[in-house]
């Protein structure tokens, strides 16, 4: 899913190519075992993280989905169709992504760092980008079922057309990359585990309030804050797809913002990982 950002981050992460050959002999130094390559390592981390879902994540995925469906049912009494309904459905769907990719990933990395779990990865010859991207990709993948269910239920609830819901196939990975990158960076940069959790929760609350509530009624400063939040662009892209004839150029521009934020935030997260792993 974060293939775009993966390629964007790679060159920085494995630049020390001169170091990657097994070396031996000349100066009497022992040969070094090979380094793990980016993509296989990323795949291994992704697979391991995905397997954690069975043990630890499924209840939380239900919570994320029920929360979003509940919000839509609540808003059903206040909002009657039109632009506002689109905003509510799109906001609730992307909220699932924010809950898992931003909030839970921030908590995961915060906890891993606080407990010394990063040592495990830091003592393996694995590119930092593989660890960060593998975990981010797995967390973004966790959001797929919940986001799809929320979007379909919401469309049915508010009588919105489902013809263009396929756009979720781009919205989930791209807003997932942006929010997971943000979550990973927060989790790895927060000086204490509690702060990582707090930042994750606040980020999710912001995504909830600024994403679900219709933008038209917001005071100016809050509208600016809304523009700063990367999930907003995922919400906008999804909301526009409910038009009878969506303006695909604007949708693509919104998704482009998500992708750009994703690249930057995952790069920052990778840097933060390096910093956290070796002290």
């Amino acid at each position: 899913m974060s293939a775009v950002s993966a390629e964007a981050v790679t060159p920085g992460a494995v630049r020390s190519g001169s170091d990657s050959r097994p070396r031996s002999g000349g100066d009497g130094a022992a040969p070094l075992a090979p380094r793990a390559k980016l993509l296989p390592a990323l795949a291994a981390v992704y697979r391991a993280q995905l397997s954690r879902a069975r043990v630890a994540r499924i209840p939380l995925l239900f919570v994320a989905t029920f929360q979003s469906v509940g919000i839509m049912i609540m808003m059903r009494g206040v909002v009657d169709g039109g632009d506002e309904a689109r905003a509510v459905v799109a906001g609730s769907s992307v909220l699932v992504v924010a809950f898992v990719a931003l909030n839970l990933l921030a908590q995961y990395f915060g906890q891993l760092r606080a407990s010394g779990g990063l040592d495990h990865y830091a003592t393996l010859p694995v590119p930092p980008a593989a660890v960060v991207l593998g975990a981010a990709a797995a967390y973004a993948s966790f959001t797929v079922p919940g986001t799809a269910v929320t979007a379909v239920v919401g469309s049915a609830l508010f009588g919105l057309p489902m013809a263009h819901l396929w756009v979720l196939a781009a919205v989930v990975p791209l807003s997932g990359a942006a929010l997971a990158g943000l979550g990973a960076a927060l989790g790895l940069l927060a000086p204490r585990q509690e702060l990582a959790t707090l930042c994750g929760q606040l980020g999710m609350s912001a995504a909830l309030l600024l994403g679900v509530l219709p933008a038209a009624h917001m005071p100016a400063p809050i509208a600016y804050a809304r523009d700063l939040l990367p999930s907003t662009y995922g919400v906008e892209a999804l909301a526009r797809s409910f038009d009878a004839r969506p303006d695909w150029a604007v949708v693509a521009a919104d998704l482009g913002v998500c992708a750009a934020v994703g690249v930057v935030s995952l790069a920052v997260a990778t840097w933060a990982y390096r910093r956290a792993a070796v002290r």
């Binding site: 075992a33 380094r35 291994a44 391991a48 043990v55 495990h120 010859p125």
Partner: protein, 335 residues
């Protein structure tokens, strides 16, 4: 001769210093002073040996190990591992060392099999090689029956063994094991030492072991460095270290209630004894020890005596004789 010894040296540490900065107190909790966790450490580990770091909690064992595995940058000094300068190139440690840390949080939610396989993949093995090594190691350690269970659901000792399995996947010339057998039952311990011995015999693997278990240290280590407040206060074979305390004998007396201090022989021992509740520990020359035992088992003191033991010195005694600070060596585990 000297050159041959140098060639057989796997790890050379010189003048290693690491200071943790003072922490500011916050809201009631007092701050802590700066701690010199490594205070000028010199060390040489030879090829194929099991080298131990022994010391109580807080002596600086883990700090030293973290510097040897590239996890922590020393303030001063040099670390050379198999010809590589790890202070300048800490990232090379991951390609030379299999490390078992004290924490398993990164693996806790994986199954035993996936933990081993993923770790192998991240050590650069191909999928096929990682799976083959995973199966071999799980069989070797007797973990195959629980291969499908998540680490989180295992007992402490089993979880530790699963982490040890992950550390072994993907051969490394050096293994750094931080208290590998903590919480393990005897069967698991034997599996660990058998696996270590096999790698040593077949590949000449060098093992650096952190422990605060003196019994284990005496039985498995070739050489041991005793750490105390960031310094190495002695480094030799376990037998060599025990010679330091000469032929002293340890006498332990356990009284039924109060020690019978009205008996002159017992009162005379009082000053030499370390008392912990009803238990007295004495380190005496053999003749003195015989006299003391005769006194407490023969006369009126015997009625007050619950139990006594007479043992040859252990590494714990060495630690105390060297001036170890921990009273009664509470940081060192005997069993």
């Amino acid at each position: 001769m000297k050159e041959a010894a140098a060639a057989a040296t796997v790890c050379t540490v010189r003048g290693l210093v690491k200071t943790y900065p003072a922490a500011r107190g916050r809201r009631g909790a007092p701050g802590t002073d700066a701690v010199r966790a490594s205070d000028g450490i010199d060390l040489e580990v030879r090829r194929g040996e099991i080298f131990g770091l022994l010391g109580p909690n807080g002596a600086g064992k883990s700090t030293l190990v973290r510097q040897l595995t590239g996890l922590l940058r020393p303030d001063e000094g040099s670390v050379e591992l198999l010809g590589h300068d790890l202070v300048r190139h800490p990232e090379r440690a991951a390609r030379l060392v299999g490390y078992l840390g004290q924490e398993s949080t990164a693996l806790d939610e994986l199954t035993v099999a996936l933990a081993a396989e993923t770790t192998g993949r991240l050590r650069g093995l191909s999928l096929r090689a990682a799976r083959a090594e995973r199966d071999a190691v799980l069989d070797e350690l007797g973990l195959a029956p629980i291969a499908g269970r998540p680490l989180k659901k295992l007992s402490g000792g089993q979880r530790r063994l699963a982490c040890f399995a992950a550390a072994l996947v993907g051969d490394r010339p050096v293994l750094v094991l931080d208290e590998p057998t903590a919480g393990m039952d005897p069967v698991a311990r034997r599996a660990v030492w058998a696996a270590v011995d096999r790698r040593r015999a077949e590949h000449g693997t060098t093992v650096l072991l952190v422990t605060h278990n003196v019994i284990e240290a005496e039985t498995v280590l070739d050489r041991v460095a005793v750490l105390e407040r960031g310094r190495i206060i002695a480094c030799d074979t376990p037998a060599g270290l025990k010679e330091l305390v000469g032929d002293e004998v340890r006498v332990e007396l356990v009284w039924r209630a109060e020690a019978p201090l009205h008996v002159p022989e017992v009162a005379a021992l009082r000053d030499a004894a370390q008392a912990a509740g009803r238990r007295w520990t004495l380190r005496l020359a053999p003749a003195e020890a015989r006299a003391a035992v005769a006194a407490v088992t023969g006369g009126p003191a015997f009625a007050a005596l619950d139990d006594f033991t007479l043992t040859t010195p252990s590494l714990e005694d060495v630690y105390l004789a060297l001036g170890g600070r921990a009273e009664g060596a509470e940081g060192l585990v005997k069993a």
